[in-house]
Symmetry: C2
Subunit: 258 residues, 2 copies
């Protein structure tokens, strides 16, 4: 059987989801006529496969979860929206006349964010961007984007890049999910297997697939607040507050040590 | 990366979709709390992957497509619902006091059909079942189940099994989809590649995946009405009528030659 092609999976699916939501542009049809829902497919390295409708990447504020609204109220100064995707949160900050830059490594997602009106975007990684002269007061990582810290190896490097991009008094506002409330043997077994391999329980190894394309395998961290605190040790960042109203989701606010 | 396990993919996903729809029983949760939508994942042998919400397998009549209702009005006598799944159409025929048997090869699907109240079920293939003494007036193949004839090799065998199960004057009522209305290069290219290999354009080679499980690869036929007529030659069955009101979907009625 043919293998999928490595490509901009996230960009492709966001572009199709945008075409379905707006009714504009080509989109996947069944039998050339009936629109198909756009589904993001996530494979895990233990063989687990999950699908999730992609439309939420384009959700308007009245469709958001409550913690997204609370997160935006914590933003101040110049905001870097990390993994901005199709601009869901960055566009709302821009509407509120805040200074916001949307950063993403997906060309397709950045193209849609710009099409939707997001003015300041950068197509790059935080590591590359840390070499720029621009500095920020707030780093926003919503939509589970705390996962971008990947795990114990990557987290200090990622957080050092943000420290380089930080103005004095800057904060990170990140949304995570505590994975350990489950009793599902598929997940409990996966967490154990990860720990046996010296990884954090919720240090997921994933790839995304959409239509003919796949990403390479990458790590994505789903961790508890206690694990996050552990990862912050020695990075210069400390946990300032945690909002756990919408469990298992949480909002973590981090600041640089003075 | 670990390979998925071969198993009753369809049964698992229908059981989870039933738990989500009714709110009863264990079902997949994100972070142990938030219900996940149940998505059927379909891989094609060219690397294409698609997800589709599974809830439609449990749709009540008021959620059906119009051609499903027209198909039920064509049923008469004793009905064999082939690939009955969770009993979507068989349960409605039973409600209308018709004699209906639900046949499926998925233990999980048959278990849900029985739980929902379907009284007469058989867990087997049409080939096995053709050895039984039971005979039918109508063979019902909805939900794209015309695809079960697979292609030019399998179709005569499948149709011979139905002829064995047929009472005089019996009919097949099957819903198909004409795949050739598309301009999507992914599909047009696949149709061409199939023809180069001596297959029908829409002779799909697929496997299903759900959570930790996969099916083996199997053929599933999506064909035009003209191709269907061609496949019927020499089988003893002839096309009696076609309802193309809901294109690209169609309902084909077939009868045994006198």
């Amino acid at each position: 059987m043919d293998q999928p092609v490595i490509g901009d999976v996230f960009g492709e699916l966001v572009q199709d989801a945008f075409a379905v939501r707006t009714g504009v542009g080509p989109r996947p049809l069944a039998g050339g006529r009936v629109p198909r829902p756009v589904i993001e497919i996530i494979e895990r390295d233990d063989g687990l496969i999950n699908g999730a409708p992609a439309d939420h990447y384009l959700a308007e504020p009245d469709e958001w979860q409550p913690h997204d609204h609370r997160a935006l109220r914590l933003c101040r100064g110049a905001v870097l929206d990390i993994g901005c995707g199709a601009g869901r949160t960055a566009l709302e900050l821009q509407r509120r006349s805040m200074a916001v830059t949307g950063l993403d490594i997906s060309p397709g997602a950045i193209a849609i964010a710009r099409k939707r009106g997001l003015r300041d975007t950068v197509l790059t990684s935080v590591d590359e961007y840390a070499r720029a002269a621009t500095r920020y007061d707030t780093f926003l990582m919503l939509g589970n984007n705390l996962g971008l810290i990947e795990g114990p190896e990557r987290a200090p490097v990622f957080l050092a890049a943000l420290a380089q991009l930080a103005r004095p008094g800057a904060r990170i506002i990140a949304q995570g999910t505590d994975p350990y409330g489950t009793t599902d043997p598929v997940h409990v077994g996966y967490h154990e297997r990860n720990r046996e391999r010296g990884r954090l329980g919720g240090q997921l190894r994933l790839r995304l697939r959409y239509r003919m394309q796949a990403t390479d395998w990458f790590d994505y961290l789903v961790c508890s607040v206690a694990e996050l605190e552990e990862l912050l040790h020695g990075t210069g960042w400390r946990l300032k507050s945690v909002d756990e109203q919408d469990r298992p989701y949480y909002l973590a606010v981090m600041e640089l040590n003075p």
